[in-house]
């Protein structure tokens, strides 16, 4: 049961930028995997929508028994992060002890090593760290409202500008 490096070209590179899919019709944001139709209104055209990288932990678990690709990282925290733009994404949260995670914590995205592929290929992607911004935004806006008015885009300078394919449009 091995997955070849061929898959890496499909899964690896696209995970180097943090985006959601935005419905062309109702503007609802969905996680990056919803490419065929909008979960809310059923419309079939969605466009990649860059996220600023800030959000809040709304739910979390601690993984003590990981799949093989994550071996050695356990125990690790995986949270549901409600992004300021209004979409919830699952992602590891770093730098917090398993017994100190708290719902409501402000977090910021950072590019890290995610996992090892079956051929030793290293997958990088976004994980989250506690946001030490001295003036964190007040409570995250309601989901629908947020979708209307995306948070100001951060300059990409902080992150290594990843090479990525042009935004896909179905």
């Amino acid at each position: 049961m091995t997955v070849s490096a061929i898959e890496f070209t499909r899964l690896g590179a696209p995970k180097l930028h943090l985006f959601a899919m935005k419905c062309d019709k109702c503007k609802e944001l969905s996680p990056w995997w919803e490419r065929s139709h909008c979960y809310k209104c059923g419309h079939d055209t969605l466009t990649e929508f860059e996220l600023a990288g800030k959000g809040e932990i709304t739910n979390y678990t601690v993984v003590y028994y990981p799949p093989r690709e994550f071996l050695g990282q356990e125990p690790y925290v995986v949270g549901h992060i409600l992004m300021d733009e209004g979409v919830t994404l699952p992602a590891p949260v770093m730098g917090v002890a398993p017994d100190a995670v708290e719902v409501g914590t402000r977090v910021a995205a950072t590019l890290r090593r995610m996992k090892l592929g079956h051929e030793g290929d290293i997958y990088y992607s976004y994980k989250f760290v506690v946001d030490d911004d001295p003036a964190p935004k007040k409570a995250a806006p309601a989901r629908r409202a947020a979708a209307k008015k995306p948070a100001a885009k951060k300059p990409a300078a902080k992150k290594p500008a990843p090479r990525r394919p042009a935004a896909r449009k179905k």
């Binding site: 995997w33 993984v63 990981p66 799949p67 093989r68 690790y76």
Partner: protein
């Protein structure tokens, strides 16, 4: 439409780690037991539906329905394998019921089987994770236990339920699991022991998680007239089969979705069987993780949303309660041999209606039973209703 599919025979292997037996051995053992119980010869089986999830990963075998057909001696009956995550065994049963109800076949066999312990836990965990979007959502390091842990915390947050409250579900299951000779885990435990068991995926603890198990279960189904013509046999019929799909992602799986996963197909099933939730005596509800039992209890209409956990604490879902939920010990104790589970639930309910469940597990005068199987992050809902219908 109404439906009556006769349950002519049942059979199951012990549910445990069985290094000495192959997947083939398990399937043959359960299938032969069911045919012996039914009093049929392999040549009488006209179609074989095999539920098996992960043989390609777990055992490096494929096309396991064809293997089973050969070794059970049912050739030239048609044989096919069906897969729908943890709902696989229930789906095989559904196809068996449809085959009989359609009038196309007289006698068919449903066989669920899984051999999970040829691999180490980490490999098994990786294979099981393929029953979700392992490339995209589970790219984040999620596994089935941790994905379900997110559901558990969501439930606790929404209804103000504590970990101790939820622990009662495991206590109840283990009370009966200890009495089930074919269960994988056979010990009783207390709320404290559940709370103190090692964390698997916070807030889920070891005693709230099912083990990986090797097992197979089989049923021989027939047309109503065939069973009616044998009045000395227990007159147990499947009177409803109803399937649904649901969300494929944990992140978008709301508590409403979790409720609807059972509520929608159960509503159709009750209508099909002409019964209501209040009529049910005994239920086998999927609980590979303890939190899924209260969710299932609610979806089936035995309790309101957010209240499903209470029965294990106040006694109303124990054997002599309002409704007996998982008197087999559930998946928490029987284990969860993926493709077999749905079939095992069916076999356990049929035993209840026949009055042949092991001592300490038999619901008195059980006449109507239900099995509810689910699969994927919230992706399969499978409901079957069974009735003892004399004369």
């Amino acid at each position: 439409m109404s439906m009556r599919v006769g349950v002519l025979g049942i059979g199951k292997t012990p549910h445990k780690i069985q290094h000495e037996k192959s997947l083939k051995d398990l399937g043959v053992e359960a299938g032969r037991k069911a045919m012996a119980d039914a009093g049929v010869d392999p040549s009488e089986i006209q179609m074989l539906y095999v539920g098996n999830v992960g043989s390609v990963g777990f055992n490096y075998e494929n096309s396991t329905a064809l293997m089973a057909a050969h070794h059970l001696g049912v050739v030239p009956a048609g044989a096919v394998r069906v897969e729908a995550a943890c709902g696989t065994g229930a789906w095989a049963l559904h196809l068996g019921c449809v085959a009989i109800a359609s009038g196309l076949y007289d006698t068919v066999m449903v066989l669920g089987m899984e051999k999970m312990n040829d691999l180490a836990t980490v490999e098994g965990t990786s294979i099981i994770a393929q029953a979700a979007d392992s490339k995209e959502e589970y790219f984040s390091g999620l596994t089935f236990p941790s994905g379900t842990a997110l559901t558990a915390r969501k439930y606790m947050q929404a209804y103000g339920v504590s970990e101790e409250d939820l622990a009662h579900t495991s206590v109840k299951n283990h009370f009966y699991g200890a009495r089930n000779p074919s269960a994988h885990l056979r010990f009783e435990c207390t709320v404290e022991e559940v709370m103190n068991s090692p964390k698997v995926a916070d807030p889920l603890k070891l005693y709230e998680v099912c083990p990986m198990t090797d097992a197979a279960s089989a049923l021989v189904l027939c047309r109503e007239e065939i069973l009616r013509a044998q009045p000395n046999r227990p007159q147990v019929y499947v009177t409803a089969t109803s399937m649904a799909s649901g969300t494929w992602y944990q992140a978008s799986d709301t508590l409403d979705d979790a409720y609807n996963l059972f509520h929608r197909p159960a509503t159709r099933a009750y209508e099909m069987a002409g019964v209501t939730a209040k009529d049910i005596d005994v239920a086998e509800i999927y609980n590979s993780f303890a939190i899924q039992e209260p969710l299932g209890i609610e979806g089936l209409g035995f309790a309101k949303m957010g209240q499903g956990w209470k029965g294990a604490k106040d006694g109303s879902t124990w054997l002599d309660g309002k409704i007996a939920v998982n008197p087999s010990g559930g998946l928490l104790c029987k284990g969860h041999p993926l493709g077999a589970t749905g079939a095992t639930q069916a076999v356990d309910i049929v035993e209840q209606l026949r009055g042949t469940a092991p001592e300490g597990m038999q619901r008195a005068d059980a006449e109507i039973g239900i099995s509810a199987c689910r699969g994927g992050p919230g992706s399969v809902g499978a409901i079957h209703i069974y009735q003892r219908l004399e004369g």
